[in-house]
Symmetry: C2
Subunit: 410 residues, 2 copies
């Protein structure tokens, strides 16, 4: 399809949150608020089919998990941790001191991090969320994860990073516990990290009572390619997104239909060899878009839908990227496949989806800081602004504001 | 009271959003989504008692409003605008370029700004929200305000700043219109600005579909003083907060009960002379707290409740401020009364309230930017990380991720 047809199609596919889901999540939050740990136990039994006596993972289990890692695994985690640290330090904000105005950044005190679990392990999500918090200087990190095996790489990674407060609880109930506190889990200031749609809904509902990073939907990639890209590379980049989830979205853009056809042939040739081919097939069936049009119109698409991942494998990549305003993250060239970003490049893989990159950004060290201005006016400056400020105060009918200024000019 | 008694008292006063209010706001949003302008007209008639044919303010009205301003008023607006610009430019983020990683900031495309109205005018809120958006480089600014008089300073200030898109609609319905669009008002990317509790609830409910700045509650100030502060100054600073609203909160902290008593006497002496004395009296009756304790415990209070405004008028102000981690904004010394910050100092007066400064910050130029990383790895770097990334991909059971990396190492 061309750019216009694509924008028509995508604008018609509106995401509607089922009212029933919203109501269920509201009930879960309300029950956790009122009954604390007892509600957590009951939901964990119902949803995860696990009987939990104590949600807090004992130190011994964290140690055992660490000890069960191979030397190669430990080294990989340490190496990637180092890369993430270096990147996050390079973008961390510093205090500003402009004489009468300071602007200061302070680490958050208590942060809750959601790490997905269930049947799979996501040690990469541990690194991509905990390391930025550590670089920010967060004092207390509390991790919730529906991970019920005793020896596992998620716990091992947490132990390596020095996180002691780990709780085996997931879903909306875990978000509610972090937002309002229970007997076991303390109330935190901000909750971050990826999760399923119930986690996302719960984050939306507790927002304002605590900070949250973003409300994430299914993952997505947009690939913008020409013939300098190897079609087999592109096929695997598409598969890597599609294997996450049948709802994952993949967009293949090119100025040439021939290029798209060549990728199509590789998809066809390689798809049967995939471990998760059923998920990939269903995902491609429902949520794969191929768009050929002029460069100008293709860039317009990128800025309009602001995809979570944008991969530009094109000889004019620098030029194209300079026109991209909105994206979760941009990956340039053959050697920056999105999978490298997922695991090891440096920036966090927790990124805004479904157009929300138009107003929000991927998780980073600065999301674990809060900031404020310190205003210290000299008498001369105060005298210079007092009359104007008094004029506005009078106009707004706030006479005590007026007097609070006026008494200092006497 | 002392610090401990205060923290007990304040922790017991929990804010509960009435379920009924939430339900009403959900209905308003849903009706605006479905019926657009027709719903706006109906709500404006019901809530504001105004019949509106066309929500968009004609250019002539904006011009007339500007022309109705006195020379002094124009000059005051221009002067303050200049100060806000200078401050916001000094804290604006710049792109980072670290070879394989760029981090880039882009202005938001479409922003909605809520300016309170009703019976009063708030030209100061126009400056404190629109100027940061302009410095960021926002392309389209759409202002909603329940301001129905034709010639007024709010419109005049908007005209001076070059804002053409002004709509006379307020409340939750205005937020819904900006979030989802109507025939007259376009959907925006982010909604900012102060408003009443229905505006705050609507912002919470549309969050995620659009960005929002914060969910603000009643205004509050914490004053930390010693005998170097003039008790009459402090009394007026307290009045200036209390005159906003019977729910406005004022906290007076000192290491000495004598100091607090001296301020009390001034409050008593001056309160009857205030224009808005009924509001001030009710506010002080219900929401004024006097706390005397050690410096350590007083600073603990500040960090725990993170007040919107913190005013330190104390001979050791620098030392005290260095221990303050969480606040909306900090005002230091005699010549930085909070009222100066409201109107003219430079930083925006749109600030987090009710403890939310522990995880969020006052509105500034950077809230009108979004950002993303651009990752461009060299082949050597890719080769250096590929094995570790493949190991994690395999561990997480994502074989297409593994292949997307592996095919590039061949």
């Amino acid at each position: 399809m061309n750019a216009e047809e694509f924008l028509d199609t995508i604008n018609k596919k509106e995401n509607h949150t089922a009212v029933e889901d919203m109501q269920n999540v509201m009930n879960i939050i309300s029950n956790v608020k009122q009954q604390g740990d007892a509600a957590l136990k009951s939901y964990t039994k119902d949803f995860d089919r696990v009987d939990i006596e104590n949600f807090k993972v004992p130190e011994k289990i964290l140690d055992d998990s660490l000890n069960s890692l191979s030397g190669e695994e430990r080294q990989a985690l340490a190496h990637i941790t180092g890369r993430i640290k270096e990147y996050q330090e390079s973008i961390k904000y510093s205090d500003i001191d402009n004489d009468e105005f300071k602007y200061v950044y302070r680490p958050l005190e208590k942060v809750g991090i959601y790490i997905p679990g269930g049947t799979a392990l996501y040690p990469s999500s541990v690194l991509m969320t905990v390391v930025p918090a550590l670089i920010a200087g967060v004092k207390e990190i509390h991790v919730v994860t529906p991970t019920f095996n005793t020896n596992n790489m998620t716990f091992g990674a947490l132990r390596i990073l020095g996180v002691d407060n780990v709780y085996t609880v997931g879903g909306a109930q875990a978000v509610a516990a972090l937002a309002y506190g229970t007997e076991t889990i303390p109330k935190v200031d901000k909750i971050v990290g990826p999760g399923n749609k119930f986690v996302a809904l719960a984050k939306k509902l507790v927002f304002g009572d605590v900070g949250i990073d973003m409300i994430a939907g299914p993952s997505e990639i947009l690939l913008y390619v020409d013939d300098t890209a190897d079609p087999a590379h592109i096929a695997y980049d598409i598969f890597a997104q599609a294997e996450h989830d049948v709802n994952a979205r993949t967009f293949l853009l090119s100025e040439s239909t021939d290029t798209i056809d060549r990728v199509d042939k590789e998809i066809e040739r390689l798809i049967e060899s995939l471990d998760r081919k059923e998920i990939v097939k269903e995902s491609l069936q429902n949520n794969h878009y191929k768009i050929a049009d002029t460069r100008e119109r293709l860039i317009k698409i990128i800025n309009e839908i602001s995809p979570e991942h944008v991969s530009i494998q094109h000889q004019d990549s620098a030029e194209i990227i300079s026109d991209i305003h909105y994206a979760g993250a941009v990956f340039e060239g053959t050697y920056s496949p999105e999978a490298a970003g997922d695991y090891a490049a440096g920036p966090s893989h927790v990124l805004p989806t479904d157009g929300t990159g138009r107003f929000s950004h991927g998780l980073n060290v600065n999301d674990f800081l809060t900031s404020h201005a310190v205003i210290n006016l000299k008498k001369e400056t105060f005298d210079e602004i007092a009359e104007d400020a008094k004029l506005l105060a009078a106009k707004e009918g706030l006479s005590a504001h007026y007097e609070s200024l006026n008494i200092r000019t006497e």
